[in-house]
Every structure is written in C-alpha cells, then in structure tokens.
C-alpha cells in the first residue's frame, strides 16, 4: 500500500512537471478561465471512488479548468448501496455516477424522469460537439440509453471491440488422442466422450471433466449446438430480439431440444457434475489440476492459463477454437461485448453549471480526452508513434496487469467515456489475438445483441411485478432438467403453461411496446 502511494505521488509529480511545457497548446480544451470545482458522487465496483488525485484527472483538470471533488465515501463497500443511499438523501452533488451490481442505466432513466437528473439532449446539441458527433455516428448507443420520454439522462461508458468469449479446448489432448478439432456437434460429442473415457491426462484415473464452466451463464452454453441461445445479451437469462419481436430464448423449441440434449450429455458425464456449485474459481481448479477439457470463457483471461501453467501442467495447450457447427449446419457465437455498459455519469437537477459540466463530459469524448482516459499520461505511460499511442515498455513489462496499472492512475475507469480497443489489444497475448482474428474471419458469427429497453413507469411496474418470479422459475427448471430430476419432454407443456400463469406474456407485451417506441423508427 505504501509502495503504491509512493508511486502515485511520483506519477503525480511527473504530471505536474509537464504543466509548464504543455501549457500553450491547451487553450482549445479550456472550458473555464478560472478553475471551477464540481462535486461528484461516484462509487464503483464495490471498492473504488472517483478521486481528483488520479494523475489522469489532474491532467484533465489542468486542461479543462474543471476540478471534480468526490463526495462518495469509501466507508461503504457496496456501490449499489452507496448510490441508493445518495438518492434517498435527495441531496445530490453536481455529478452522479458509478458502476454498480445490476447496472445504473435503469436508475439514471427512472430518476431522470422523476426529476433527479437533467435531460442532456439540448446541452449536447449546443455545447458538446464531440458527444454529438459520437452519437450521430453511433445511433444504436443513443437508442440504447434513451429514456421512454425520448431524453438522454446520462453519458455511458462505451466499450469498444466485438468479441468477448470463445470456446477453448485442450488441443494437446486432441493431439494425444489422435482427434481433430471438433467441427460440428457430432464430432464434439466424440471428442468429449474421448476426453471422458480415454484418460487424456494420463494419470490412470477417470477424473477428466470434459466440459466445465465457472459462470452461471456458461453452464448450459452447449445448448448453442442445437441453435438455442443462452441469453440475448451479456446479462444472465436476458431476452432476445427475433425479427423485431421480443422473445425469451428459454421458451423456444430450440431450447427444448438443446436443454434435453445437454441433460443427456450431463448424464453421460460429458459436463461437470458440479457445474452449478463450483463457482468463480473453477477455471483455475480445472486447468491447474489438469482435469478440465473444454470451456466457454473470455478470450484474454483464458488465454493466459496456457502460459501461466506451462510449468505445473507440462504440454498444456488450452486454445480457442471456432464454434462447432450446430445441428442445422450453422456456426454462431452467442456472446459478444456489450454495446453500452450500464455505467457512466449524469448531471443532477441541483447543478448550477450544466453547460460547463456537459463540456467536461464532452472533453472525455474528444481525441485528447479519449487518449487520456485510455492510455494515461503521455511520456509517463505511453508515447506517440506515427500518430498512435503506444504503451511504454515499463508499463507492458510489469508484474502488474496493464489494466490494473491504468486503474491506479484513473485511466480505464468506468466514467462516461469511450474505451479504445487498441489500448487493450496491445497487452492481449498472442493466443487470444489469433483467436479473435480467427473468429473475425468467420462471417456473421455474432448474434445480434439485445441492448435492453427503457420502460415508462407503468410498464416498469408490470415488469417488476412478474419478471423476478419468472426468472426464478426458469432458472429452477433449467437446473432441474440438466440434473435429470425431471424429463424435458414430459414437463415442457407444464413449463410453458406455468410461465404463462406467472405473467410471461404480460412482461413481453410491455417490453415490446417499449422496444417499438425506442428502436421502432430504425
């Protein structure tokens, strides 16, 4: 900790020393002649708060003249609580933001319509050229964050890049067993069966776990092989859109087939018997003990295991592969990066300087602000080469991951900003980059994302009334089927009837109305 603080001071000093040299060119980014202080409540990811002490924020203050002063307390270790408490107090600072469990998008919109936040549309049109340009070029982002009354109430954290997760398989096991990479669902069955029975790890025990997963959303991902989707977005059990109609993926005929096949594979031992109870550290356990054969997980982080485990698990080659072709001969990848993260910031009703604030928000979407928010400080964290920022070697070859280093200086934090994929690409390992390139080459691999709907108060009331119990029941039945406690074919009609009874069509109806209003004119 002390070491960390020391390095922060050092960085801060560096930033300070630069002031003199860089001053002249900053006239264009100045928002106010005299320094203006804005208060901000920004508690994020359960353990951080916004701080003006970040070198990146100091630089921004120096360039814009806007100083943001955090009022969120680190005494709470739950960002959702911190945000809710602030709203309940009614005493809002100039800027409110954060990144919390479940996302803040719905909160920004709901409280915005109740009068807590200022609508930003006119402010953006008049004072924020960069934001205006961004929204004009990315109409989907604007649609996604629009409230039912048509206004925008917050500036989101916008990720960049398309691919997030992929299928990973022990290619060294395939080689050992003389099998080729599974190209379709039948070959996949053969491979998983061989993993189970032919002792690829060579310890004489039948302890191999052919398919494993560490997140609930991945547990039944194999239903993809029967053209069924797990979720329309990166949220667990979310809706999807098919030909302009809102559908829940867990009510389709494909799902019925998929989940019964997955149940069968589970029974045959091709899927981890403890898949629902292992939890987040499953990947380390399965790969570290040399028993896991295949999973569906993040490109970047999963690719690191082959490198990290090469001494303890000799020969390990856990590499990405293309999604095997489904029963209908299609090939698709069910997950992707979200278009918009439900995080960011908004201007509260009590803010006396909305124009200056929107200009400050706008700064982060300018070229300069974007580089600053992604790469940190020039000369300290990165250098410009051929007009492009490149991380310094001291950043890349550091025992700490690059994103962790960036967070410490206030770059890459979930403020309303536009992430830059090249900054991430530079520290993603080769295996992941090759995998992404492989996925990219395959046309039409990605499924359309359901970016969510903004419901008005009445629609939301209906949704809130029925949806939690529906999701509970669907999840319960999913596990019941996979674990073999009930037969899918025998209970499917009862399942559909129960969903109807629990209000599924009412939920779909309000979502469809909201969807048509929000995206209809496209």
């Amino acid at each position: 900790m002390r070491h960390f603080r020391k390095s922060l001071t050092l960085l801060a000093t560096c930033a300070f020393l630069q002031v003199g040299t860089a001053h002249a060119q900053d006239a264009s980014t100045k928002i106010v002649a005299n320094p203006l202080e804005l208060t901000i409540h920004f508690h994020f990811r359960d353990k951080y708060v916004y701080t003006e002490n970040w070198p990146v924020e100091k630089k921004a203050a120096e360039w814009t003249g806007i100083h943001v002063k955090n009022v969120a307390s680190l005494a709470t270790s739950n960002s959702r609580d911190a945000f809710n408490l602030l709203m309940a107090s009614g005493n809002l600072p100039d800027i409110v933001g954060g990144d919390v469990t479940g996302g803040l998008k719905d909160d920004f919109i709901r409280y915005g319509m109740e009068g807590a936040f200022q609508p930003l549309d006119d402010l953006i049109a008049e004072h924020a050229p960069n934001l205006k340009k961004f929204f004009d070029e990315h109409p989907v982002v604007r649609q996604t964050i629009s409230a039912p009354d048509g206004h925008i109430y917050f500036i989101p954290y916008v990720p960049e890049g398309e691919y997030s997760r992929a299928w990973f398989i022990r290619k060294d096991w395939l080689e050992k067993l003389g099998l080729k990479e599974p190209g379709n669902v039948d070959e996949l069955y053969t491979v998983l069966k061989a993993f189970r029975e032919k002792d690829p790890n060579g310890n004489g025990k039948k302890d191999e776990v052919p398919y494993f997963a560490r997140e609930p959303i991945e547990a039944v991902r194999l239903i993809n092989m029967w053209d069924a989707r797990v979720s329309g977005s990166e949220r667990y059990g979310d809706f999807m859109v098919e030909n302009g109609k809102i559908v829940h993926p867990w009510t389709t005929p494909n799902y019925k087939t998929g989940i019964s096949k997955v149940a069968q594979w589970f029974k045959e031992g091709l899927i981890d018997t403890e898949i629902f109870t292992r939890g987040a550290r499953d990947r380390e356990y399965m790969l570290g003990n040399n028993i896991g054969g295949m999973t569906h997980d993040w490109f970047a982080s999963t690719s690191n295991y082959t490198e990290a485990l090469k001494d303890s698990v000799p020969g390990i080659n856990f590499a990405p592969m293309l999604p095997p072709k489904t029963v209908s001969g299609k090939r698709f990848e069910d997950s992707r990066r979200a278009t918009v993260q439900p995080a960011g910031w908004a201007i509260s009703y009590s803010n006396k300087h909305p124009v200056e604030t929107i200009k400050y928000f706008d700064f982060w979407f300018s070229e300069k602000g974007r580089i600053l928010s992604n790469w940190g400080i020039e000369g300290v964290n990165y250098d410009m080469k051929d007009g492009k920022p490149l991380y310094k070697d001291s950043v890349l070859h550091n025992p700490k991951p690059v994103n962790a280093q960036m967070w410490e200086i206030g770059a890459g934090v979930p403020r309303g900003y536009w992430a830059s994929y090249p900054s991430e690409e530079q520290w993603t390992n080769k295996m992941a980059l090759d995998g992404i390139a492989m996925y990219k080459k395959e046309p039409g691999l990605l499924q359309p994302e359901f970016t969510g709907v903004s419901m008005d108060a009445k629609e939301r009331a209906t949704y809130d009334k029925y949806w939690p119990s529906l999701l509970t029941y669907m999840t319960e039945m999913q596990q019941t089927w996979v674990l073999g406690a009930q037969d899918v074919a025998a209970s499917w009609d009862a399942y559909q009837a129960r969903l109807e009874q629990l209000g599924l069509s009412k939920v779909i109806k309000v979502m469809q109305t909201a969807y048509d209003r929000q995206y209809g004119k496209n």
Partner: protein, 309 residues
C-alpha cells in the same frame, strides 16, 4: 377518571423517585429500543406506497394494499412462505429438543474435566461464521471429493449430489444448523438446571430414586418454565429463516424446498430495488409472527400458567 389519572401519574412519580438508579440503568436500553426499533416503524408505510428513494417516503404516492396483492398473487412467494413454515416447523420438531437433551447429558457427567471439555467442543461451532460453515458443508457433501460421498461409494452406493436435490435440502439445512447451534443453546438449560434446589435430589436419593427417575421427575419439571419460554420465542421465529445461510447453500435446482420468504425478499426486493414489495413481505411476516406468539402465549398461560407476559 381524571383523579384516577393523576393518581396513576403520581404513582409513577413516586416509583421514579424511589428506584431512580434502576430506571437510570434501564435508560440506555429504552433509548436504544425507541431509536432503533420504534422510530424505523414509520418506514413501514413504504409497504403501502409506490416507493421511489428519490421522491422519498412522503413524496411517494399511496397504493393501498397493491403490494400485498402482488405478493399473494405470486405463486413463488406463496411457495416461499410454505417452505419457510415447513423448514421452521421441522426445525422445531428436530432441533428444539436437542439442546435440552444435551444439557441433561452434560448435567449427568461426573468428571469435571470431561464435562468442561465436551461442553467447549459443542459450543465452538456457534462461533464459526455461516460462510465458513456453508463452505464446510459444501465440501463435505461434494459428489466427487466430499467425505460423505467417498464413504457412500466405498460402501457400494452411488454418490449423491445432495445440494442440488430438493428432497435433501431440509435435512442438510436443519442437520448442519443443529451441529452449529445446539451446544450454544444448551447453555440456557444448563443454567436452569443449576438453579434446581439440591435438596430435591438429596431427598429423592434417600427415597432410592434412580438417575432416570430423577431426570424425569425432578430436573425436567423444574426446567419446564424455561423450556416453554424458549418454545414461545421459537414459535415467534417460525416465519423467519435466516437468509444468509440459505443463500449460501441453495441452488435454483433446490428452490422448490429451499426458497424462503427472506431469500425471496432478497432476490426481488433488494436485488431489484423494489423496496415497497420487500417491506410488504417483511410486514406480512411480522404480523403472522405476532399472531403466532400471541396464540402460543395464550395457550401456554392456560395450560401451564407459564407465559412470556
């Protein structure tokens, strides 16, 4: 009427003057009750409103019994309510007698060291956090590496994935709770047993009573008031099953027996920030708990002349 009132108030005044030290001692607790248990009751009105934190309690519109209607129409809530009663009811039957039996057994131990030692051992689990207890339970019951399943399979049985089977959930939950709490709860009964007058045992021994007879005829009847008070308190908690431990142990696959009101409130109310619905569920619970305690107390006063108030 007024004269009786003034007389009454005067009585209080005299009481205060005479026993002011006692009242002073009670004061911090009274303030605590007012501040932390009575003051927050004003928040109960949320249950009858369409509550928005930003608009505040006063600014949110009244909706009458709408929230209660939503709850009672929700089959998942009804199921959770039935599960709560079932789990507590079974807990009452199986877990309630255990500390009493433990206390009686400790009382019969003659060797001082052996007694202290075994008491400490059964108290200890009480001080372990539920998170750790849940971790231990999950590991013990794991189908691949758990001790229980290793024993089962060495005896030639198929391993059982206990934590994903609804029919096992109650046994696992109540069983591990007995292990965790029975020892600590036996303290109350041990204290009650210590209060039994030794002369009763002496005269029984003179009359030639066996140890069994002394337990049945002396110890149990003497601690019966304590048992009844504990039972009434327990009945008051019948509609409450602590949610932390359940959340740590349950799975969607076991919702059909494991989902209780508090976990329902947690999932819908707090994760979905529907405070109004969560408050309504809490209030619903409290009213039923009050009715149960009231009835139990009534019955007990009639039957055994022991009561909470």
């Amino acid at each position: 009427m007024t004269s009786r009132m003034t007389h009454y108030l005067k009585g209080i005044g005299e009481d205060l003057r005479r026993d002011w030290q006692l009242y002073l001692l009670a004061l911090p607790m009274i303030v605590w009750f007012l501040l932390f248990l009575y003051k927050p009751m004003e928040g109960l009105q949320i249950a009858f409103k369409d509550f928005s934190p930003f608009r505040g309690i006063a600014g949110s519109p009244w909706v009458g019994l709408e929230n209660f209607r939503t709850l009672l129409e929700d089959q998942i809530f009804i199921r959770a309510f039935i599960n709560t009663i079932t789990i507590s009811g079974l807990g009452l039957i199986f877990a309630f007698p255990v500390p009493i039996i433990l206390a009686l057994m400790f009382n019969e131990l003659q060797n001082e060291f052996g007694r202290r030692f075994s008491q400490t051992i059964v108290y200890l689990p009480h001080f372990i956090s539920v998170v750790i207890v849940a971790g231990i339970v999950i590991n013990l019951l794991s189908p691949t590496t758990g001790v229980i399943n290793l024993i089962l399979s060495s005896l030639g049985f198929e391993p059982v994935y206990f934590l994903t089977q609804p029919e096992w959930f109650r046994s696992v939950f109540i069983g591990s709770n007995i292990w965790k709490e029975a020892g600590f709860e036996s303290i109350v009964y041990l204290a009650a047993i210590a209060g039994v007058s030794p002369t009763l045992y002496e005269s029984a021994r003179v009359d030639g009573a066996s140890r069994w007879q002394m337990i049945w005829r002396i110890t149990l009847p003497c601690i019966l008031p304590t048992i009844i008070i504990m039972l009434i308190i327990r009945i008051g908690n019948l509609v409450e099953v602590g949610f932390e431990y359940i959340i740590l142990l349950y799975q969607p696959a076991t919702y059909s027996t494991a989902d209780v009101v508090s976990t329902y409130v947690y999932r819908t109310g707090l994760q979905g920030t529907q405070y109004d619905l969560a408050t309504a569920a809490g209030l619903f619970n409290a009213v039923i708990a009050f009715a149960l305690v009231f009835t139990a107390n009534r019955i007990s006063r009639k039957v055994s002349s022991t009561s909470l108030w």
